[in-house]
Structures are given as C-alpha cells and as structure tokens.
C-alpha cells in the first residue's frame, strides 16, 4: 500500500476542481424541481430529456448565486459571459452535450487565504463557471443493464477551479473546507457531500522543486473531507514510488476507493475525448451590470473572514483560534451556540472545543455537526470549570463519558460525584493534614525546594480522589507554608 512517506526531494502540486450544486428551486435551464431523492425521472421535463425542438432559458437566481460566490472570493465578475457546449456521448447526458462555460466564465481571477498549522497562504481561484449537472447512472439495479435517472440532469452547478497552488493534503483540505464554509454561509448551496451537492476532483502531480510541473493524475468525485485527504496522500505515495523507480506517471483519471483506501484508474470515458467547445447558439451572451453586482454585494451574508474578525472583537479570541473556528461553518455554529450559554469565558470555551470536542470528532471520524454531545452540554462543562465546580481534567473525563454513553453531563457529574472540592475549610483541613504528615518536606520547601509544592498538591489530590480544586488548593498551601 502506498503511503506518503515524507517528500524530501519532491514537491507536491495540487489543484482542486469543486462542483457545487446551487440551492435554486428550479434547474439551470428548465423549470423542473431540483429536489433530492424523488422517484426516478419524475423531475425530468421535456427540456431535461432533450426532446426534439426544446430550448434552454437561463435561471436568474443561479447567475446571482455565481456572482455572490465571485464577490466572496475577491474575484472579477465578467460583464459579458458566454455559455458553451461541451460535446460528448454518455447516457446521463441527454443532449449529447453539456451546457457549460469555456472562454468568458462568469467569475474569474479570485483568491482565498487559508491558515494551515499557523501559517497563512493564498490560493488562487482561476475561475468559477456555471454549468448543468448530468443525470445518474445506476449499474447494479438490473441484470446486464444500466439504469438512467435524469432527475438530476440540468441542476445548476458552479465549478470552482483553483490554481495549482496547494502543496500538501492538509492545505487542500483546508482550502476545501473554507470553500465549503463560504458556499454554506452564502446560502448558495447546502454543501451536502453525501448527497452529492459538493464534490471535489483533485489534480495531483509531483516535481523536483524549481522544475516545471510534472504529469498529473486526476482523482474524481471524492465526496468527503476525510477521503480527500486520504486520496491525496495515497496518490502522492503512489506517484513518488513510480518516479523514484524511474517510471513516468500516466496522465489519467482515477477513482478513490474508500474501502481499500487507494486510487485506481477509471475504465470507461477516457479515450481521448475532443469536446469541441463552441458558444451555444441557443443562448445569448449574459450581461451583468455594475448595478446588479453592487446590489448583490449589499445583501451578502457574513463570510468566514468577517466572522473571524468578529470572533476576535466580540469574543476576544486569539487570532489563530478565531481563524480555525470561522473557517468551518459547522465549527463556528457549534461555538456560537455554545457561547450563548457561557457568560464570558469565551477563550476557555474555544480552547475546550478546539482541543477536546474537535479531538473526539477526529478520533471517531465524525463531522462536528454530528457530535453526540451538544454545544449546550459543552457550554455547561465550561461554565462549571470557570465556576471552579469541576477541574479541566474532570471536564475532559465527563465529556468523554458523555460522548461514549450519550448520557447527560449533569447526570455524570452527579453519579460520579466528581464535583470539585472548593470549600476553603475542607481544603485547609486536608492540606494541614498532609503538611503535618510530611514535616521533612515542609522544611525542605521552606529552605528553597519550590518543586515540592507539586508533591503537596499531589498528596492532597490523592486524599480527595482528585477532586480538590487545584487553584484554591495552591492558594491555601501557599498561605499555610508561608504563614507558619
């Protein structure tokens, strides 16, 4: 099995093409519904079926949504944009061509700043264009036949093409997540990867630094963030092996198999296809005015970068934490929901979420939106910590248990009786007891061995089954040791 073994002499070059299904009510060129999951071919009109004589008419909302995206990534919006036909034969493509954009896409020359492990980087966005989605072919329904459902045919997509600016799987996934967050924040897509409304193709090649781009392989239709990272890492390892043994990478299209965690070449489709792009004569140039753009600009919802700034100002978060929280819509929603239940300790909350909640999500391969512990529950834990009712260590344990057993945080704290002991008198008693038990150590401490404080704290913790409030305990011990 190939694995990314660390690239001392190779530089990875990654470009991503993301297909985003737009959340319009009707299709790009027909008035059929775009609902997911309807019975086969009940949302395929005479236009979607490419009946003889039918013609396309452009959906205004799809254009507006493309403009919104362009504004969100600092891109230029074309004042005149052209639809082109991409010609090829496949049963899920009824017309025998896809209406897409070739020269003159609606959005071009954009960029996105991402933050990967503390470092900031700009990824260029070459273009984002409108095109129609194809239908679905299902190969395991009937014996010896493939079944075609054209409900999806004609659904509006924007295809977002990045510059080959990414240099690692982590960078690619960060970029991907930020685009995901943007399209969801804008409300132009539900970004549902399982249902296919957010799909990613990755172009990966290796080169020796300073040299020209190497031959790239395209991995198609990856539908989860985790799979993207795995697929890219696998592919890097595979290409590294080929190049280091003196071979050449094939320019080909591959599929990622999540069960085997590997990529393999696609069999069909790819005999050299000449798409013969030409401007679609059934459609006229799309004109977009400055006025339209400025009206759309006025109505844009909050974008990740603005959210980050707001998190810094409103919640007083550190820059890096704000960056990470704002770059994922699910994460930012989780945080904000929790924050409305926490009075002021936002940084504490952020720390807890970023290390503990995200940590558990990663460990169990879950998206945070599917975390079994709700943001309200996490807010409770953080509040208890900040009220010194429990310690951070205890909060982590409770979180773990709640996650595994799906029980309420309050129930766990009660049943395990792990409420922190903060009672000054109680703690003083215990502390005094310990100091009386270890007079030699007390003397050593007074003579300068400061490290022994840890020993005293540890002893009290042992006596109290770890429930002593460490801060209060420290204060009491200090007082006792200095005072006597």
């Amino acid at each position: 099995m190939y694995r990314n073994r660390g690239l001392s002499m190779w530089e990875t070059v990654i470009g991503l093409e993301i297909h985003v299904q737009l959340a319009t009510d009707s299709k790009l060129f027909s008035s059929s519904s775009t609902n997911f999951g309807s019975e086969q071919n009940t949302q395929a009109s005479i236009i979607d079926l490419a009946m003889p004589g039918v013609l396309p008419v452009l959906n205004k909302k799809a254009v507006d949504m493309a403009i919104m995206f362009g504004l969100a990534v600092d891109a230029k919006i074309a004042d005149k944009s052209i639809f082109a036909r991409k010609n090829y034969f496949y049963p899920d493509l009824p017309k025998g061509y896809q209406i897409s954009q070739y020269e003159l896409p609606v959005v071009y020359d954009g960029k996105l700043e991402i933050n990967v492990e503390g470092k900031s980087k700009t990824v260029g966005i070459t273009r984002a264009h409108l095109e129609e989605d194809a239908g679905k072919s299902i190969h395991d329904l009937f014996d010896g036949e493939s079944a075609i459902d054209l409900n999806r045919a004609g659904t509006p997509l924007i295809e977002i093409v990045s510059e080959p600016d990414m240099r690692s799987a982590k960078e690619a996934v960060t970029y991907l997540k930020k685009i995901h967050s943007i399209v969801k924040s804008l409300g132009i897509s539900d970004g549902n990867m399982e249902e296919g409304s957010f799909r990613c193709d990755a172009n990966i090649s290796l080169r020796k630094p300073g040299e020209d781009f190497g031959i790239r392989a395209e991995i198609k239709n990856i539908n989860s963030f985790r799979f993207v990272e795995n697929a890219i890492n696998y592919e890097i390892g595979r290409q590294q092996d080929i190049l280091e043994s003196g071979g050449e990478v094939n320019q080909e299209t591959r599929l990622y198999d999540p069960k085997k965690d590997e990529t393999r070449p696609m069999r069909s489709k790819e005999e050299a296809n000449d798409y013969r792009y030409f401007p679609d004569p059934d459609l006229l140039p799309v004109e977009i005015t400055e006025k339209q753009i400025s009206e759309i600009k006025k109505s844009l919802p909050e974008l990740p970068d603005a959210k980050k700034e707001r998190f810094i100002v409103e919640y007083g978060l550190k820059n890096d934490d704000a960056e990470i929280l704002s770059s994922s819509l699910d994460l930012s929603e989780y945080f904000e929901k929790a924050s409305s239940n926490v009075s002021s300790k936002f940084q504490l909350l952020a720390n807890f979420i970023l290390s503990e909640v995200v940590g558990l999500s990663n460990k169990h391969s879950l998206d945070i939106s599917k975390a079994p512990v709700s943001s309200e529950e996490v807010a409770k834990l953080v509040t208890y910590v900040s009220d010194e009712k429990i310690s951070i260590k205890q909060a982590k344990e409770v979180l773990n248990e709640s996650w595994q057993n799906k029980t309420d945080v309050d129930e766990i704290i009660k049943s395990k009786n792990i409420e922190q002991i903060s009672n000054i008198d109680l703690l003083s008693d215990e502390a005094k007891k310990i100091l009386e038990k270890h007079p030699k150590e007390v003397q050593d401490y007074k003579n300068g061995k400061d490290k022994l404080m840890g020993f005293f704290v540890g002893q009290v913790m042992k006596e109290t089954q770890g429930k002593a409030n460490p801060k209060a305990l420290n204060q009491i011990l200090n007082k006792l040791l200095k005072g006597e």
Binding site: S26, S31, L58, K60, P91, H139, G144, E145, A147, L284
Partner: protein
C-alpha cells in the same frame, strides 16, 4: 492549425480521420462506403476552404445575427411533468428508468 493549408487540400479525409470523426459522432460507416464518403467530404472541404482567403482581419466572429443579450427566467419551479407521456415509448424504460446495455466503469 491556424489557417487551412492549401497544399493539403485534395486528400484530407483519409481513413484515419474518418475513423476519429465517426468515433466522436457515434456513427459507423461500412467499409464499402468509405471511398465515396472520403471523396465527397474532400470536395466539401475544398468548397468551404474558400473562406480561408476571406479578408477577416480585425473582424469579430458573429455567433448570433442580432445583438441581443440573454433573457433571465425567475427561479420558479413548475410541477408540470408527466413521466408517462414522456416515456410513452416503453421499449426503452423499466420501472421509470431508461435502460441501456450495462456500462462497465
């Protein structure tokens, strides 16, 4: 190829090119017809090759005869699809799906 190379006019449509074109356009031409087809296509190319000498420097290509821009449709969903009427030719469908010979991926 930026201009039509007039040296090649006369015999462009050889078997190889016709094979590629029939692959792209999903046609099949019987062997016995290829010679006649090749001749006809070459004559057509000769005819259309006359545009090569046209004085088009600085001219923009004209995709549409009139200078209009694309009208936009409101995003309203119309529930007027009659699957049975669309699929009245039932020889091509099964349970509402269109069927084709199994595609290997």
């Amino acid at each position: 190829m930026d201009t039509i190379d007039s040296h090649h006019l006369g015999k462009i449509m050889d078997k190889k090119i016709i094979k590629k074109l029939t692959y792209l356009s999903k046609l099949s031409i019987p062997e016995s017809d290829i010679d006649e087809l090749s001749k006809n296509l070459d004559n057509i190319l000769k005819l259309i090759g006359e545009i090569d000498a046209a004085p088009t420097d600085g001219m923009l290509p004209m995709a549409h005869p009139l200078d209009f821009t694309q009208p936009l449709r409101d995003d309203v969903c119309k529930k007027n699809i009659n699957r049975d009427a669309n699929q009245h030719d039932s020889s091509k469908t099964k349970d509402g799906y269109y069927t084709v010979p199994k595609i290997l991926d």
